[in-house]
């Protein structure tokens, strides 16, 4: 069974009635507006992509710098060459100092 409504018309649509809706200039205007909108959207999408890439690279650079500074602190604290350790002076050294 169909789910359609069938309407019977006595007459065809007149050409005059159809002509009222025929407007190519309007169609072109809509088309140009559509093209402009599409270009704007493309530009917007590209800007967002560039912005995201830039922010990611800036973040990466910053985290890289932080890591370097942390690594520097670690090498000082646990240096391969031991820092000089103060040992109590011997009797002979005390006499020389006096």
């Amino acid at each position: 069974m169909g789910n359609n409504e069938i309407r019977l018309r006595k007459q065809k649509l007149s050409t005059g009635k159809i002509a009222r809706h025929r407007n190519y200039a309007e169609l072109l205007r809509k088309h140009k507006r559509g093209l402009k909108t599409r270009h704007l959207i493309i530009v917007l999408i590209y800007s967002i992509i560039v912005f995201v890439i830039l922010s990611i690279s800036i973040m990466l650079i910053r985290t890289g710098k932080k890591k370097v500074s942390k690594n520097v602190g670690y090498t000082i604290g646990h240096s391969a060459t031991p820092l000089p350790v103060k040992t109590p002076l011997t009797q002979k050294e005390k006499r020389i100092n006096q």
Binding site: M1, G2, N3, N4, E5, I6, R7, L8, R9, K10, Q11, K12, L13, T15, K17, I18, H21, R22, Y24, E26, L27, L28, K30, H31, K32, G34
Partner: protein, 188 residues
């Protein structure tokens, strides 16, 4: 029917339209009335038809550079876009589809003497059409009211050519059995 040379000429216009939108005007003027009538037969609403028709040509103009030549007239492509626009509209509003048919077209479809026509018979035919599935009505509309051949119908409705033929013949067989009348057209 357009010759292959005419079809190629139209295709050349469409190709030019991809770069220069003004060129599309020729096709617009040539097919506007036919597409308008085609949509109107599926809406019965002048303003809605104007909107859908405008959207059809707008889509065609936007995608002019993507059109592929398949040996079919450019109008078949317009009908296909229009059919999709109509279906999209009905999906959106969730209403039953309207088929608004001129009485004269129904009378042309069936071979009967003018005197034998009665309001009762017309109403019976309308009832018969009401009971047909949408797919069959779409094919009948294109075949008899828009005068399209099966190759074009299959392209417009995105079905196979044999599928289009099968739907048409089934609908016509039912018509013959129910009304015991002769159908004028029986396919090209």
């Amino acid at each position: 029917m357009l010759s292959e040379d005419d079809i190629r000429k139209e295709y050349a216009i469409l190709e030019r339209s991809g770069k220069n939108s003004q060129a599309f005007g020729e096709l617009y003027e040539r097919y506007f009335d036919r597409i308008f009538n085609f949509i109107y037969r599926q809406t019965d609403d002048e303003d809605l038809t104007a909107d859908l028709c405008s959207q059809t040509f707008l889509n065609a103009l936007k995608n002019a550079s993507r059109f592929e030549f398949r040996g079919l007239p450019v109008s078949a492509w317009f009908y296909r876009i229009a059919s999709n626009e109509v279906n999209k509209h009905y999906r959106k509003v969730k209403k039953e589809k309207v088929f608004s048919i001129e009485e004269i077209l129904i009378k042309e479809l069936v071979e009967i003497n003018n005197d034998s026509w009665s309001d009762e018979l017309v109403q019976k035919l309308v009832k018969y059409m009401h009971d047909l599935p949408t797919e069959m009505l779409e094919v009948l509309q294109l075949r008899f009211f828009e005068d399209k051949d099966f190759k074009e119908i299959s392209y417009i409705l995105s079905i196979t050519e044999s599928g289009a033929k099968m739907r048409t013949y089934r609908a016509l067989d039912r018509l013959r059995k129910n009304f015991n009348i002769r159908v004028k057209h029986y396919g090209k």
